[in-house]
Symmetry: C3
Subunit: 171 residues, 3 copies
């Protein structure tokens, strides 16, 4: 029987508690759980953030780093294992820096997530509620993130917006 | 009989799908529909955005450009025709650049929308959920946009916040 | 009997109407009401904002300014008097500029608010829905504000997100 919330999108702002909420959704399923991280430890600040996220996760997790080749990484995972993908916006940022084909990569990811039989929880930042950024790259990123969030939300069974650590049901 | 959702405000962030959602609300009424665009094609980037919006709209639409004199443009439209106004924040930005009286223009617009017998759907950006902008003009714009959104929401029969393409009922 | 909404957090963006909504929640209780302002009139722009907030509040209010020593200021207030604290994010900004211990100050505030028998309404900005800020101080502030909002929301009986002047129930 198909899980009614097979694909869940967890949206939130910076420091909104979206990752912690997403983890709680995944660990509601039986272990082992797979954590797919898109973060790259470019500098001390990012390294510290990754450390905080890692420290919160207890045993039962299998962690995988996929800053760019997310589609290939997910393709070889056991399909029925609960999956946490954190996060779409960092992956998008990595793709843009590497000048990958964002449309093609996004389509590949969504096809793969739609076909997974196990529960998948995808975290993404909502970044479009500020004023128009000054620089063109930031505007391009904001547009791409908005489009990817729309596409993922359309494919998702459930969409949650996390505000101050609390979930608001969007879909 | 008065339409229970005669004036609808559709709020959203950048690339949130707010325009597409607003269009679906308007086309739920019988054609012809009037599209009032406040965008000005200052540069290639804006021209490309306008092109995407135009391409999505099929036949049945009558399009009108009113980057500044929105109140005068709306005053001569058939009052019972379904109207899509996209968007308030670009109009506000145009008014500020042209040094118009924002209070007076806003009051005129809201009076006119309140008096229209036909259904009106107004699109606006929510821009206040980021950190305080560095420059004073951006702060002034953000304040003015927040006030105009509040005034329009107070006058509206329905207010919808679009997140990742999905509508959340606010009023 | 304990008030079911003894501690309420009112979140919102810039010019969202969050302060006006918070005031309406406080004045639903019998006067006198205490207003604790964390704003400091550093410049004309901030002075003008404070003036607008003050002009809106009628008689029945006792006003207290506590830009930094908020915990000490609240500790000596009558515990059963309805309280409006506006706002957490400005207080946090003041603490950061003064290089205070944010963790300790936040913990002290939340302990005090949790122990108050009277109704308390706390206003805070949601600042994490834009793109990542360029400068490191802004990122640090955004992180600290997100954490403080999460902690306050966890302690609160009710959490409201104000959008265009309209309340959305989060908790």
């Amino acid at each position: 029987m198909r899980d009614p919330d097979r694909l869940t999108l967890v949206l939130g702002g910076a420091r909104s508690g979206k990752s912690a909420h997403a983890e709680s959704l995944v660990t509601a399923h039986p272990a082992p759980w797979t954590y797919v991280a898109t973060a790259q430890a470019h500098d001390d600040e990012m390294q510290a953030r990754i450390g905080v996220h890692q420290a919160r996760r207890a045993t039962g997790w299998h962690t995988l780093e996929a800053p760019l080749d997310l589609v290939a990484a997910l393709a070889v995972l056991p399909g029925d294992r609960p999956l946490l993908l954190d996060c779409l916006t960092l992956w998008l940022s990595n793709l843009m820096l590497a000048e990958r084909d964002i449309e093609a990569e996004s389509a590949g990811l969504l096809r793969l997530l739609a076909a997974r039989p196990g529960p998948s929880v995808v975290v993404s930042n909502e970044v479009g509620f500020g004023i128009v950024p000054d620089n063109a790259l930031a505007r391009r990123f904001r547009d791409a993130a908005g489009r990817l969030n729309q596409q993922t939300a359309a494919a998702a069974d459930a969409v949650i917006l996390v505000v101050a650590g609390l979930p608001m049901k969007v879909k």
